[in-house]
């Protein structure tokens, strides 16, 4: 038997049914799963194609694979090594040398770019017209020229220094010539251990002095000349130990022997030009970040500090800069990371960092692009993650605690 149904009734009855299909698609949760499944399928297909193509191509072209090359002898010389190296040593050692050289130039670059960045960033607010203009010019000139050109430029400059026999001589102990900067090296004798202990102790006591001074200031409001006391401890204690133990040190001076200087510490011009170029280039970006950071501190803060009777220099160091760090730190993070990545421009001047010596010379001899590039990229990735981790920890401390 048919009961007469109006169209409306039919609609009403069928609605839940079609709605359940629709609602399955309209439910963001399910739809999300569908999209993600599609994405996963696509990615699997994508990587499967790449990997199978690569393997097929490598086999067809007779390219070896695997990491066994790492233990074979390299057979070429490396300009600067922080660990000992013979031309017969393995590619693994070349890899290590590359990493260490990259880390060294990155650390030096980070240190000096930060110093330069803060000097010029603060100089932007100087009352002296010339200083201000120079700060602006510095930022605008060095920020806008490709870093690879700057590295080449500084290398050209270092190449105009006099040759080894006509070195610039500072007190017969420091020499500067086209082959590098030669510094005397401090060599410890028996008993030097006490001095190291003294330096260590003075550092620990500095920490305690600072802690105590802050506690006292918070309690009584009295300021303690932390800086001077700390300096006194840092210089005084080791000096005293040095005198008591009979100065167990001597300098190893560089000397001109044959073609070159031997002894002492040698800083090669490739290192200097790379470090200078990276410091100046990154410094320009940091200066800009510092300027933005300082400008982000409300004018009221400075005025309040002035009305409290703080000196202008104290206002900068106690009120403005600490507050601006909140803005500056995240920018520093990315600038440091790009500095590490930019060390690769060393390939233009031959400073043996990771990219030049491992993904360059070694790759050229071995020919295993996939393995070598993989190892290289992993290292850069790890270095950047480390910087990011450290800077985020630092950022946590400077962040504004909102309640």
């Amino acid at each position: 038997m048919f009961s007469k149904k109006t169209i409306e009734q039919i609609k009403l009855e069928t609605r839940p049914n079609s709605a359940s299909l629709n609602s399955f698609y309209n439910n963001p949760k399910y739809r999300g799963w569908i999209y993600q499944a599609l994405l996963a399928i696509f990615l699997i297909g994508f990587f499967y194609t790449i990997v199978s193509n690569t393997l097929a191509n490598m086999e067809a072209q007779g390219i070896k694979s695997g990491f066994s090359f790492l233990s074979t002898s390299a057979g070429f010389d490396v300009l600067m090594t922080l660990i000992t190296f013979e031309t017969t040593d393995s590619y693994l050692r070349i890899f290590a040398i590359g990493i260490l050289n990259t880390i060294l130039v990155s650390l030096v670059g980070i240190l000096f770019s930060t110093i330069l960045g803060f000097i010029f960033g603060i100089a932007y607010f100087s009352p002296n017209y010339l200083i201000k203009k120079i700060a602006t010019t510095y930022v605008e000139v060095f920020r806008n020229i490709p870093v690879i050109l700057q590295v080449i430029f500084w290398y050209t400059i270092f190449n105009t220094l006099p040759i080894a026999r006509e070195s610039i001589n500072v007190g017969d102990s420091v020499f500067l010539n086209v082959t590098g900067l030669y510094l005397p090296k401090l060599v410890g004798e028996a008993g030097s251990g006490f001095v190291y202990i003294a330096i260590f102790l003075s550092m620990i006591s500095m920490f305690f002095v600072k802690h105590w001074a802050r506690k006292r200031q918070e309690k009584s409001g009295q300021q303690f000349p932390v800086l001077w006391v700390c300096l006194a401890i840092l210089v005084g204690l080791p000096t005293l130990t040095l005198l008591i133990s009979g100065i167990p040190f001597h300098f190893d001076y560089p000397e001109l022997k044959g073609f070159n200087f031997s002894g002492g510490i040698t800083v090669i011009p490739e290192f200097m030009s790379l470090a200078v170029a990276l410091s100046i280039y990154t410094g320009a970006f940091i200066a800009e970040a510092v300027r933005a950071g300082i400008q982000s501190v409300p004018q009221g803060q400075t005025e309040a500090a002035r009305s409290l009777g703080l000196k202008e220099s104290k206002i900068m160091s106690l009120i403005v800069v600490p507050q601006s760090m909140r803005v500056i730190t995240p920018m520093l993070n990315s600038e440091y990371q790009s500095l590490v990545k930019n060390t690769t421009v060393a390939t233009a001047i031959g400073y043996p960092e990771l990219f030049t010596v491992f993904a360059g010379s070694a790759l050229n001899q071995v020919g295993q692009a996939v393995e070598i590039m993989f190892m290289t990229l992993v290292i850069y990735f790890a270095l950047n993650m480390t910087i990011s981790f450290v800077m985020n920890r630092f950022n946590k401390r400077t962040e504004l605690t909102t309640r």
Partner: protein, 339 residues
């Protein structure tokens, strides 16, 4: 998610724009596209260099032009692809170039393990030293403890290491990316001597502000035979490149030049006629037309012409023939018999 759709789209664009390469049959491929793809150096005085108008010239470049003249009948139908030292073998393996003519040293390892074949020697080179005159050095054996300027990515890097190890001496290698930087490094005194293939030493020397102040030492510490490279397993193409090179060497031996080639083709001696294709069928045996060698010599010139024009007396480099003279004139240049 459309996140990846874009990259898929890019890949599709890529495939649409990609040219298929038939690694197995290079000759057919070159004839079809009517252009020869040739891997050369990014800039090496006398061997492959671009001028202000973008025209390529050099000894290595002439090898490619010869092959193009032989195969396509037109020496200008060459597409030059500058390659860095690191890219060169992969570019050949992957089919990006049909022939690699990039001052590449013929070594056992490269010939056997890279899936490549060396088609001959264009220039017999060897690593040598250049020092500043006022150092008073007469022999490379006096260079203990000195700094060396080396161009990166050359087999010289290994040769010098062997040489110093063999003689129980020490050195510091300072490697540069380009020859211009190497020259600048040597000139500034950054290093005490410069190691490079002899052919390049002369180019580097004339670039100096005062070339007369530096001398090239007599020692040649390695064998560096430079030649064109092709892919393995394509014997037809391998033969063409090999015999194109031999044709220009034989051309010099037979006294055929670009000036007298027309005349000799008609009424030369049997050897000349065979080479130029008016007698016999040497070209057809290569899968080419019989006037292949005629085209090479007509359009590019014989070996002597190419040598003098690019690196010899007519060029700023003024390199002497030396080892690269014909075998009957004190050199070791020797083309197998053309018959």
């Amino acid at each position: 998610m459309k996140i990846k759709n874009i990259s898929l789209g890019l890949a599709l664009v890529a495939s649409a724009y990609a040219m298929p390469s038939f690694a197995a049959n290079t000759l057919e491929n070159v004839k079809k596209s009517d252009v020869l793809s040739c891997g050369v150096s990014t800039g090496l005085a006398g061997f492959s260099q671009k001028d202000e108008k973008g025209q390529w010239s050099g000894l290595d470049v002439d090898v490619c032009r010869s092959v193009a003249a032989a195969v396509l009948g037109d020496a200008s139908k060459v597409q030059f692809k500058p390659l860095t030292a690191k890219e060169r073998f992969l570019a050949l393996q992957s089919g990006e170039v049909d022939i690699l003519s990039r001052n590449t040293t013929w070594t056992h390892t490269r010939d056997t393990s890279l899936g490549l074949n060396f088609a001959g020697v264009v220039y017999y080179d060897g690593a040598g030293f250049m020092v500043n005159k006022n150092l008073g050095v007469k022999s490379a054996l006096e260079l203990d403890g000195a700094n060396a300027c080396i161009q990166a990515g050359t087999s010289t890097e290994l040769a010098i290491s062997d040489f110093f190890r063999e003689n129980k001496m020490n050195y510091k290698a300072i490697t540069f990316d380009t020859s211009d930087q190497t020259r600048a490094g040597f000139e500034s005194g950054r290093c005490d001597f410069l190691v490079s293939d002899q052919s390049q030493l002369y180019a580097l020397r004339i670039g100096l502000q005062k070339p007369e102040n530096s001398i090239v030492l007599p020692e040649v510490i390695s064998k560096e035979p430079l030649g064109p490279v092709v892919r393995q397993n394509d014997d037809e193409w391998f033969n063409i490149v090999k015999w194109s090179l031999n044709a220009s060497i034989e051309g010099e031996y037979q006294g055929v030049t670009s000036k007298n080639v027309d005349q000799l083709k008609a009424k030369g001696n049997p050897g000349q006629k065979r080479l130029l294709g008016s007698e016999g069928d040497l070209g057809q045996k290569l899968g080419l037309s019989d006037d292949w060698a005629y085209q090479i010599i007509k359009q590019v010139g014989n070996y002597a012409e190419s040598f003098e024009r690019n690196v010899g007396q007519e060029s700023p480099l003024k390199i002497k023939r030396g080892l690269n003279a014909q075998w009957n004139k004190g050199g070791i240049l020797y083309s197998p018999a053309m018959r």
